[in-house]
C-alpha cells in the first residue's frame, strides 16, 4: 500500500490547478506513513498482506460512495441519504432476484432506482429550490422507510445467487479481490475525469461561485442536478456490490455510513462550502480512517473507543485545514 501511494503521488504534482489539494494530500500521506511505521513496530500483524487486504476490503466499497460524495461536496451540495440508498439498491435488486429476475438485470434496475432517487432529490434542489442538506435528510429517512417496506423489516437471504454474480464481491484475481480492482478502477476514472474533463470543470465553477458560473453561461442547475444523480448512482452501484459480497440484503444496512463518508471526503480536503476537493484526497481520508481502525483493533483497543477516536481525527483534520487557510489569507 505504501508503494501504491508513492507511485500515484507524482501524478498529482506539476500542473494541478488545485495546488492546495496536493499540499493536503502530501500531508495525509505523511501522517499515514508515520502511523504505518509506528504500527509496524507496535504490532507484528500490521505489515502483512492479510492485514492490508482486510483494510483495503473494508473501505473499497465505501470508497465508491466517497467518489460521488466528493464530487457533490465540490459542487456545494451534500448527501445524507447515501447509506439509505446503498441499502435501497441492495434491497430492490435482492427482492427482484427473489421474484425470479436474473441477478444482473435486477442489479441494473437497483442501480437505476438509486439514480431515480438522486433525480428526485436533484429536482427538489434545483427546481423547488430546497437545499441539499434538508432534501437529503428527508430522502435518508424516506428511503430507509422504503427498504423496510420492501423487506417487511426482515433481511432477504440471497444464498441462491449464482456463483458468477457472487464472484464480484467474493472472488479474486489471485491474491487481489475483484472488489479492490473495481474500487481502484472507479477511483482512477473519476479522479482523472474530475481533474481533466471539461464537464467536471463546470462542477468546480459552480461550487466555487454559482453566481459567477451563471454569468459565464454555465447552466448551474443542470450541473447540480446531474452531480446529485451521479452521487446516488454510485451509492446504488456500491449497494449491488455489497449484495454480491454478503449474499444478503438487510434493510438496516448502511445506517450511519454517510457520516463516515462525509468525514473521509472532508479529511481529504473537500470543502463543505464547495469549490474544492479531490477524489484522491478523499480516498486518502478514507484510508486514514481505515488504518486507524485497524491499528486500534491490533492494539486491542476496545471497539467502544473507535468512533470517538475517529471523530477526534475528523475534528483535528478540519481544524488544521482551517488554521492553514487562515494563515494563508
Amino acid at each position: 500500500m505504501e508503494a501504491e501511494i508513492k507511485a500515484s503521488a507524482p501524478g498529482l504534482g506539476g500542473r494541478n490547478w488545485l495546488r492546495l489539494g496536493s499540499m493536503r494530500e502530501a500531508g495525509l500521506i505523511a501522517i499515514m506513513l508515520a502511523l504505518c511505521l509506528a504500527m509496524t513496530f507496535a504490532s507484528p500483524h500490521f505489515l502483512t498482506w492479510g492485514n492490508f487486504r482486510a483494510m483495503l476490503m473494508s473501505f473499497s466499497i465505501e470508497g465508491i460512495v466517497v467518489v460521488g460524495m466528493t464530487i457533490l461536496l465540490i459542487v456545494g451540495g451534500i448527501d445524507l441519504s447515501v447509506g439509505s440508498v446503498v441499502c435501497f439498491s441492495m434491497v430492490v435488486s435482492g427482492a427482484l432476484f427473489l421474484m425470479g429476475l436474473d441477478p444482473w438485470t435486477a442489479s441494473l434496475i437497483g442501480i437505476g432506482a438509486s439514480a431515480l432517487i438522486g433525480a428526485v432529490m436533484g429536482f427538489f434542489v434545483t427546481v423547488i429550490g430546497l437545499n441539499h442538506f434538508i432534501t437529503s435528510l428527508a430522502a435518508m429517512v424516506i428511503v430507509r422507510g422504503l427498504c423496510l417496506v420492501i423487506t417487511k423489516g426482515t433481511p432477504l437471504s440471497l444464498f441462491t445467487l449464482p456463483p458468477g454474480f457472487k464472484a464480484i464481491g467474493q472472488g479474486s484475481f489471485g491474491n487481489v479481490p475483484y472488489v479492490i480492482v473495481i474500487f481502484v478502477v472507479v477511483v482512477a476514472i473519476f479522479d482523472f475525469l474530475l481533474r481533466r474533463a471539461t464537464a467536471f470543470r463546470k462542477v468546480f465553477y459552480t461550487g466555487s461561485n454559482e453566481k459567477a458560473a451563471q454569468f459565464s453561461g454555465i447552466k448551474t442547475k443542470q450541473v447540480k442536478f446531474w452531480v446529485t444523480v451521479l452521487c446516488s448512482t454510485l451509492a446504488g452501484f456500491a449497494g449491488v456490490i455489497y449484495m454480491s459480497r454478503f449474499g444478503a440484503a438487510t434493510p438496516t444496512f448502511g445506517a450511519g455510513m454517510e457520516l463516515n463518508i462525509i468525514a473521509a471526503a472532508v479529511i481529504g480536503g473537500a470543502s463543505l462550502n464547495g469549490g474544492s476537493g479531490t477524489i484522491f484526497g478523499a480516498i486518502l481520508g478514507m484510508a486514514l480512517l481505515s488504518v486507524v481502525t485497524s491499528s486500534l483493533i491490533l492494539l486491542d483497543v476496545s471497539v467502544y473507543w473507535q468512533d470517538m477516536i475517529k471523530g477526534c481525527i475528523l475534528l483535528a483534520a478540519v481544524s488544521i485545514d482551517h488554521f492553514l487557510h487562515r494563515r494563508k489569507s
Binding site: W17, R19, T198, F204, A212, Q214, G217
Partner: protein, 539 residues
C-alpha cells in the same frame, strides 16, 4: 451605550468639547488624534513604514492612496483591530494603546467599514446597540427602551424606524445604520472607509450632508475615498499614502485633484481618461441594435443602438434598471419582448450561452459575489466563459490551450501576478478586474457590456482599464459601460443613455455630458433630450 442599568447614553458633546489643553512636546491644541512613526508588518509584507498622521479637531480629513497603500491598515490600527509594531498614538495629547475594538470604542473612536457588515435579520435598533447589548448585564432584553434609545441615535442621521429589519432597508440606509452604530459610543473620531462605494449620486449627496452635520457637532472625521470629486467637495485637508509610507498632507484649497492623484501614484498621470472618439471618425454603422426590448411585464419597450468605434455609457440611479436592461439583452434575465441585431444581423438570444456564441458578453458589477471564482486559479477563471473551445474531442480539457490562452490574455492586459496558476483571491482589486475582463475577451467578442468596471479599483488600474476599453472600441469592438461614478461616465463615454424606472429617458452626446445633465435626467427633473441641452447651458 448602555450602562449597567440598561439605559442608553446618547452621544454627548461634553466629551468632545472638554479636553483641549496644550501639551508640552509639540502637540498643538487643535490636534485630537496624532499618529507618530507607526510601522506594521504582516509576515514579510510591510504594510506601514513609519507613517505620521494628524487629525485636527472638527475637521474632515481625507486619506488617499491606491489599494495597498496602507490606508485600511492605519484605520484598523486606530480602531484597535490590529496592533502596530512600532510607533505611538496620541488621543487628545495623551499616549494611548488601543488594544481592541472595544477599547477604541471606549475612547470614542468609531470605524465604519467599507463593506456593510450588519445582521440582516435583526432590527436596526439591535444592530446599532449591538455592543451595548453584548455588555449588558441584565438577563432579559428591554425592547421598548432599546428602540427608544436607538431611535435617538438614528434620528441624528435620518428618520429610519429602528424596529425595521436591516434586510428591508436600501443599501444607502444600511450604510447610515453602520454610521449610527459607530456613533453610539460618545464618538470623538469617526473613520469612514469608502462610504459611497455602493451609493448612487443622490444617496451620496445625502450622506455628505450628514457627514457635514456630524462635523458641525464637533466630531472629527477621517474620510477614505477614491473619488476625487467628493474629497474636494467635502474635506478640509488631504493626506496621501503610497506603498505604506506617508507622502504629504495639504489643505484641500491648496491642491488640485491632479496633484493628489500624482502623489498617490508617484508619477504624473497626464490623462485620467483616454482620448475620445474624434468627430471625423464617427460612423453611423450600428454594431448592436436593440429594439422594443421589454424586460418588465407591462413596461414599454426600450431601444438603443451602439455604433462602431464608440463607447456607450449607461447612467442612472441604482435600481433604475440599468443592469436589468443589459442583462436582458444578454439573455441573463427573461425578456418579455424585443429583438437584437449584431452588425446588422438579427440574433436570437434566449440564454446567456446564446449571447456568448453570438459574441455578446457581459461583466457583472459585483466582482466578488458574481464575477470571479476567487478560490480558483487565474487560468481557470479565464477559461470559464468558453470551455467548448478548450475541449478535446474526447471531452477532456486541453490544458496546454488553456495555459496559452490565459498567458496571452494576462500578458496583453498587464495583469500583475505570480503566474496563471495563482489563486485569484490573492490578486489586488485592479488585477482581479483585469482577469474578469480577460475572460470576456477570451471569446473574441463583438460587443462587451461592463457593469461598474472600475468599482473598488485603484487609480492606476482604473486608468489602465479605461485605456483597454478605448483600445477595444478603436479595434471595432462595441463597448457599453454602466457606471454610477459620474466623472467616469463622462470621461469615458462618447455618448450616454440615462435610464430611469426602466426606461431610457435621455441621450447625451459627448458635447452635452455634464454631471448636472445626467443627474437631472436620472432623477426625473428633466425628461427630454432637448431639455438636457438647456440644462447644460444653465450649468
Amino acid at each position: 451605550m448602555l450602562d449597567r442599568t440598561g439605559r442608553v447614553r446618547a452621544p454627548s458633546t461634553r466629551a468632545i468639547s472638554s479636553i483641549s489643553t496644550l501639551q508640552g512636546d509639540g502637540v498643538t491644541a487643535a490636534a485630537i488624534l496624532e499618529i507618530r512613526d507607526i510601522s506594521k508588518s504582516f509576515g514579510a509584507i510591510k504594510a506601514l513604514t513609519g507613517v505620521d498622521f494628524t487629525l485636527q479637531r472638527g475637521e474632515i480629513h481625507a486619506l488617499c492612496g491606491e489599494n495597498g497603500a496602507g490606508k485600511s491598515t492605519l484605520m484598523n490600527i486606530i480602531a484597535g483591530i490590529v496592533q502596530p509594531d512600532e510607533g505611538a498614538i496620541r488621543l487628545e495629547g495623551k499616549n494611548v494603546t488601543i488594544t481592541s475594538p472595544s477599547a477604541a470604542q471606549r475612547l470614542g473612536i468609531g470605524l465604519v467599514h467599507q463593506e456593510i457588515a450588519l445582521c440582516q435579520d435583526a432590527t436596526v435598533a439591535e444592530n446599532i446597540l449591538m455592543a451595548a447589548i453584548n455588555n449588558r448585564r441584565a438577563p432579559l432584553m428591554n425592547f421598548r427602551r432599546l428602540y427608544a434609545d436607538a431611535q435617538k441615535i438614528m434620528d441624528l442621521l435620518a428618520p429610519i424606524p429602528v424596529e425595521t429589519p436591516v434586510a428591508d432597508l436600501s443599501i444607502s440606509n444600511q450604510q447610515l445604520v453602520e454610521i449610527a452604530k459607530a456613533l453610539t459610543l460618545e464618538c470623538r473620531v469617526l473613520m469612514l472607509d469608502e462610504p459611497t462605494a455602493a451609493l448612487t449620486e443622490t444617496e451620496a449627496q445625502r450622506l455628505f450632508a450628514i457627514v457635514r452635520d456630524l462635523k458641525a457637532r464637533g466630531i472629527s472625521i477621517i474620510y477614505i475615498s477614491h473619488r476625487m470629486a467628493e474629497i474636494f467637495s467635502l474635506c478640509d485637508r488631504v493626506t496621501v499614502f503610497r506603498d505604506g509610507r506617508y507622502v504629504a498632507t495639504d489643505p484641500i484649497a491648496s491642491v488640485t485633484p491632479n496633484d493628489v492623484v500624482r502623489k498617490m501614484v508617484g508619477r504624473e498621470i497626464t490623462r485620467l481618461y483616454p482620448q475620445k472618439l474624434s468627430p471625423e471618425r464617427r460612423t453611423d454603422r450600428p454594431v448592436l441594435s436593440v429594439e422594443n426590448l421589454s424586460y418588465r411585464q407591462g413596461s414599454a419597450g426600450v431601444g438603443f443602438t451602439l455604433r462602431a468605434g464608440e463607447i456607450l455609457g449607461i447612467g442612472g440611479l441604482i435600481g433604475a434598471g440599468r443592469s436589468e436592461m443589459v442583462q436582458t439583452v444578454c439573455g441573463l434575465c427573461p425578456k418579455v419582448s424585443g429583438s437584437v441585431e449584431l452588425n446588422g444581423e438579427p440574433v436570437s438570444i434566449r440564454t446567456y450561452s446564446d449571447a456568448v456564441r453570438a459574441g455578446l458578453v457581459y461583466l457583472s458589477e459585483d466582482r466578488k459575489a458574481s464575477g470571479l471564482f476567487l478560490d480558483l486559479s487565474v487560468a481557470s477563471n479565464i477559461s470559464a466563459l468558453d470551455l467548448r473551445k478548450l475541449t478535446t474531442p474526447l471531452g477532456l480539457l486541453d490544458r496546454r490551450a488553456e495555459a496559452k490562452q490565459a498567458t496571452d490574455l494576462v500578458e496583453r492586459h498587464g495583469v500583475r501576478m505570480g503566474g496563471i496558476e495563482t489563486q485569484v483571491s490573492t490578486l489586488s482589486g485592479g488585477n482581479q478586474q483585469k482577469v474578469a475582463i480577460a475572460r470576456l475577451l477570451s471569446v473574441g467578442p463583438k460587443v462587451v457590456i461592463l457593469d461598474e468596471p472600475t468599482r473598488g479599483v485603484d487609480v492606476g488600474a482604473k486608468v489602465e482599464i479605461h485605456r483597454l476599453l478605448r483600445d477595444l472600441a478603436e479595434r471595432g469592438v462595441g463597448v457599453i459601460v454602466i457606471s454610477s461614478e459620474l466623472p467616469e461616465l463622462i470621461g469615458l463615454s462618447d455618448r450616454v443613455l440615462v435610464i430611469r424606472e426602466g426606461a431610457i429617458v435621455g441621450e447625451l452626446g459627448a458635447d452635452e455630458l455634464t454631471e448636472e445633465a445626467i443627474m437631472l435626467l436620472a432623477s426625473g427633473v428633466r425628461q427630454q433630450r432637448s431639455n438636457a441641452r438647456q440644462v447644460q447651458n444653465v450649468a
